[in-house]
Symmetry: C2
Subunit: 420 residues, 2 copies
């Protein structure tokens, strides 16, 4: 071994979360296999992992000048966290709404009254381009400081396609200067805009028409829709999803969050890369996800803040559906911050074990973003996205809710400034 | 005004949480009154608040040499947080138990099998004095970094009175070097120790006999007991509580946590300063608390981690029972860290408003520790226990769960090092 390295972290409890012989997301009995190596080390060069091992073998690496070599003294080194579901492109807060709302049905009632999302839509429309880019960038930086090295960012508060395209272009600006990897999603059907005058079909046609621009300008990697009772039905958004596929965009869905509307099975039908929320997914829906190998993205934050029953992760593991978790960071239903918080809630509220939650927040979330072979695991050739925890027991990430456990973050081999 | 000051924080959104004409904890319609002052300032000298006001009037203060004068640029300045219920004196973690346990009834089953608390009892008994003092001190320092300036610390993992006295003496050592105010409690009846051979009466007599030493050595301010089905009954611990009163110790109780055993009414009968958990307290219990002016300490952390229904704070507010909140930090049922996390959970899980949660985490928690006239509010003459938030909207403390919002902490007028 005479590979060159510019970053070495050694004497680590190394969680490789390495693939188990294939490149599929983890599910069933393998859902909690974090591939721990005692006295482990990882070496990177130019942003990519070049080698891993244990003991002193790292000393045979050739270190380039000004390399970072750190003895982490038994601390956990794990893959950078992947947040597969956020709505960071918004202006204004809606704190008043939180005190008025105490259940999931209240949420739909507020929506029907033109509150909820529509308040954010107005504030975001009124915000200048520069202010929005600054807000998105600050939220990405805060996520990075808490250990996130890959983050999905949806549009969705524009509603009307023209405004959605503006948001996607602003997300692209924030992405260009971000320290971490940003995966943009066009949330094409979030709610019916007031100007649509109730004409759902015309609105969805206009959203569908925008896909050509989204694809041509590479404004998004995936297209999303909110399939829910009183919002959009599966059959309504089917043409949108099929058009997305035909222009080369991945599909993802807000599905079965408050009611079972067959969203999980629909996600399988349109070959989505993930089905998100899925608190109310039926057994049939779970079987469809398992069969299609689609990642279920569980989002306990909105269950906590809106007050509906959280998804029962044990059902998904029992059905061998691969599970990911995310913050769902948004101003209306899940303002929590940081993947460590999401991990804590996924364990306490959804019933994942700490190791399942770590897999769900790394390799499986990477699969949910089409990056299952590029990040989410500490394996030679992958991006050097790494987190050092301030503990030798990664389970604390799940249980010491609120503790500042993230000691250092490396994205693409470069140190990200720690949480303030 | 020509008062001397050595600490001035100005241009703040100042939450005074000032008393409303009396020195009682807040309840009912006043439960959420935080006494906000726009463009406010607070001045302190030698650890005590000497003046508050708004605008530029602080400039007429006489500043002593080397004073700290900070323009906080519109950020929130609020009273230091008070954590009225923790079990920080322990060794060893019990993470394995968390994955095995998914409900409150499981908790009692684990307890009956000699697991649960007994694992901590063994590990703590085997820990050396120095190691325990170091562990307690580190936990207090972490709490301080997250904004806590007054913290209750219970013994309770000794079980046998001799070992409990050791723990209380070690808590006293940690207290002597702590940057923040520590209120020690003798948790005299937490569980029946194995060596008691099932003789509950003899055990409780021995705990009662230890009270003389506790009082003589000033080892605790209060005496606590875990009143619960299968643990201790109210009538069994009544003599202990009466003896505590007669030697000048305050009373507090773990009451009605998993089952209604009349704990709240019993707390009123023994004139406890707080009744803690009270998830299952009956309407009669709430009326008793209201009548006696006893603070109900809500602890959502254990509800989240053990999986039982959290206390419904709206019931307490409707019954005009003063509410406080705490972390309940302990290795078995509530390992979360920091009062900001407890505030977030009290709002999302128990239904407090953000302002009610701030009152519950400051002045009302101070009352629960017999310090309702000394801290918990930004008022002339009180201890200069202050927190500066990294926001101009204190409601973010409740909603941005997991965000590092505590910018600076002053305990007794001195800066505490920030969270790492």
């Amino acid at each position: 071994m005479n590979r060159e390295a510019d970053l070495v972290l050694h004497r680590a409890r190394l969680l490789t979360v390495a693939p188990l012989g294939d490149e599929r997301p983890r599910s069933g009995p393998a859902a909690g296999d974090v591939g721990a190596i005692a006295d482990g080390w990882v070496a990177a060069r130019d942003g990519a992992i070049v080698a891993t091992g244990h003991g002193l073998a790292w000393q045979r690496l050739e270190l380039v000048p000004r390399s970072t070599v750190e003895d982490v003294a038994g601390r956990v080194v794990m893959p950078g966290l992947v947040d597969p579901h956020t709505h960071l492109c918004y202006a204004g807060e809606r704190w008043d709404e939180f005190t008025a709302r105490r259940s999931g049905s209240d949420y739909l009632a507020i929506l029907e009254r033109g509150g909820g999302i529509h308040a954010t839509v107005r504030a975001t429309r009124e915000a200048t381009d520069d202010d929005l880019v600054a807000a998105i960038s600050e939220r990405i930086a805060r996520a990075a400081a808490s250990g996130t090295t890959t983050i999905e960012v949806k549009s969705g508060y524009g509603l009307e396609p023209e405004e959605e395209l503006r948001h996607l272009r602003l997300i692209a600006r924030a992405r260009a200067s971000a320290a971490i990897d940003v995966s943009p999603t066009y949330l094409a059907a979030h709610a019916l805009p007031p100007r649509a005058n109730g004409d759902r079909r015309a609105f969805l046609r206009s959203a569908q028409a925008a896909l050509a621009t989204v694809a041509a300008e590479h404004l998004a990697e995936a297209v999303d829709a909110f399939v829910e009772k009183g919002v959009f039905e599966t059959e309504e958004v089917a043409p949108l999803m099929h058009e997305a596929a035909s222009v080369g965009l991945a599909r993802t869905l807000h599905a079965d969050q408050l009611n079972d509307t067959g969203g999980a099975a629909f996600a399988a039908r349109v070959e989505a890369r993930s089905a998100d929320h899925v608190s109310r997914a039926s057994a049939e829906g779970l079987r469809a996800l398992e069969h299609a190998g689609i990642v279920a993205v569980l989002l306990p934050g909105s269950a906590l803040f809106v007050g509906y029953p959280p998804p029962d992760a044990r059902r998904f593991v029992a059905h061998r559906v691969p599970v990911a978790i995310g913050t769902d960071h948004n101003p209306g239903t899940s303002p929590l911050e940081g993947m460590p918080t999401a991990i804590g809630l996924a364990v306490t509220m959804c019933g994942l074990t700490p190791h399942e939650a770590i897999v769900a927040a790394t390799i499986n979330a990477a699969h949910a973003l089409g990056r299952g072979a590029r990040t989410g695991a500490i394996v030679e050739g992958r991006r050097a996205d790494l987190v050092v925890l301030d503990t030798d027991d990664e389970r604390e990430l799940a249980y010491r809710l609120g503790a500042p456990l993230v000691r250092a973050v490396f994205a693409n081999g470069r140190a990200v400034s720690p949480a303030s």
